[in-house]
């Protein structure tokens, strides 16, 4: 039986590809989108528009709120909760919104909540606008209404909590328009609610943050299975991090620097992440 211990070790040493996380997240996104489509679409027909709003379900139902409080990511003195969640489908598109907000924070939290609310509204409106323009162009160039209805366009704005401690929370708001690919956007929020401020890489890594990040990123790029997947610096690839570089804090509290698609590597690699150990 001891032989199995070694076999298990060998099995567990299977190298894990770096893009696995992205693939899992892509699967999650895909699955959510397909579900939204299948759940509400077809069945209700195309003429009748359906409108489902689960407004502040966490606030209304004590059972749900209690269950949310048990969830390990949430805890401490404040919580990041879904304050608005709805799926709205008509013959043209499905809109899926999950809007987070910080509860139990002070004026600073309120300010962030307001910013998030605006972002969610803007991104939803932008998505709707794109769908409308696409529809107009589609019909104007010979597409029929029937063909148009075969499309399953989706506009989504959702969020994901990356980590949370007693005082610091790190999460992202993600928006996407299913048929463009160019509208996949993530905005990261790293908030210190005790100090009432947004954290910067300098806050987390100290005054040498630029060197620390650049060294770690270059090292990881060079150690990649195929370092050539990253754009060379003289071809518009990675040169240095700066104040606008996005990041989040992982469960260990370490910053993870994130580059949007096409900035440091081909778009197919999606958002490219580099954990910066401390």
């Amino acid at each position: 039986m001891n032989e199995f211990k070694r076999a298990k070790e060998e099995y567990e040493s299977t190298p894990i590809p770096a893009e696995l996380e992205d693939r899992v997240r892509a699967g999650i996104r895909q699955g959510k989108a397909n579900r939204a489509r299948r759940g509400w679409g077809r069945r209700l027909g195309t003429v009748a528009a359906c409108f489902v709003v689960m407004f502040g379900v966490l606030n209304l139902s004590p059972t749900v709120a209690a269950a949310a409080a048990d969830f390990p990511v949430l805890g401490g003195l404040f919580q990041v909760l879904t304050v608005r969640s709805f799926t709205d489908e008509n013959g043209d598109r499905t809109v899926e919104v999950e809007q987070p907000a910080i509860q139990g924070g002070g004026a600073f939290a309120q300010q962030v909540n307001e910013e998030i609310r605006k972002r969610v509204d803007t991104k939803t409106a932008e998505g709707e606008q794109l769908v409308a323009e696409y529809k107009e162009a589609f019909l104007a160039t010979g597409g029929t209404q029937e063909e148009w209805e075969q499309h399953n366009l989706a506009v989504s704005v959702t969020y994901d909590i990356k980590s949370q401690t007693e005082t610091v929370v790190s999460f992202l708001v993600e928006s996407d328009v299913s048929f463009t690919g160019a509208n996949w956007e993530r905005t990261y929020y790293n908030l210190d609610l005790a100090a009432e401020k947004e954290l910067t890489l300098a806050d987390v890594l100290g005054k040498d943050w630029v060197t620390v990040c650049n060294d770690a990123i270059r090292e990881q790029m060079a150690a990649a299975e195929d370092p050539a997947v990253y754009f060379a610096a003289d071809q518009g690839g990675f040169t240095t991090v700066d104040e606008t570089t996005q990041f989040y804090l992982n469960e260990a509290g370490d910053p993870v620097v994130v580059f949007p698609p096409y900035t440091v590597a081909p778009g197919a690699m999606g958002y490219v992440e580099f954990p910066i150990g401390q």
């Binding site: 039986m1 032989e3 199995f4 070694r6 076999a7 298990k8 060998e10 099995y11 567990e12 299977t14 894990i16 590809p17 893009e19 696995l20 996380e21 693939r23 899992v24 997240r25 892509a26 699967g27 999650i28 895909q30 699955g31 959510k32 397909n34 579900r35 299948r38 689960m54 379900v57 059972t63 749900v64 269950a67 949310a68 969830f71 390990p72 990511v73 879904t82 969640s85």
Partner: protein, 161 residues
């Protein structure tokens, strides 16, 4: 309630991704196909999350999806693999058991349905009951496969020596 369930599910899927990849890789032995399998299974899990009745059974439920995706991929692959006659293994009637090589490699050489049971039992440490739910077979079949596998591997369970 379903929102909470979905969050639970996505957390589980992200956290245990390495295990899923390893399991898929043990079936497919191809990096790209294993990545595809994990992504497909994750996508399917979110689509079909209503079919998960009991949150405690999440692990077995997802393994079952993943194992199904992997076997589907293997089946598709079988359909397109062309082998030249001269490359066919002359001794294909014999037990395909290389005497040398590590145990892990010998497990890989077992027939897929038997290898699956061995891996789930010893690598993923599922109970026989759970395995029967994952591979969708009666408990007795799982036991038979496990013992057949161990026999082929010439391994004895502790206490049976």
């Amino acid at each position: 309630m379903s929102k909470i369930r979905e969050t639970q599910l996505t957390t589980f899927l992200v956290e245990d991704q390495a295990r899923f990849y390893r399991l898929a890789y043990s079936y497919l032995h191809s990096r790209e196909e294993a990545l595809d399998a994990v992504q497909t299974a994750v996508c399917r899990a979110l689509e079909k999350q209503e079919s998960l009745k009991d949150a405690d059974a999440m692990r077995t439920w997802f393994y079952r999806i993943l194992v199904n995706v992997c076997t589907d991929l293997l089946r598709q692959r079988k359909r397109v693999t062309l082998v030249k006659p001269e490359e066919l293994d002359a001794g294909s009637y014999e037990d395909p058991l290389p005497e040398d090589g590590s145990l892990a490699r010998r497990v890989d050489a077992l027939p897929p349905e038997i290898a699956a049971v061995i891996r789930l039992r010893f690598y993923e440490e599922l109970s026989l009951q759970e395995i029967s739910a994952v591979v969708n077979c009666p408990l007795s079949t799982v036991k038979t496969r496990l013992y057949t596998g161990l026999k082929k591997l010439r391994i004895q369970l502790e206490g049976e020596e």
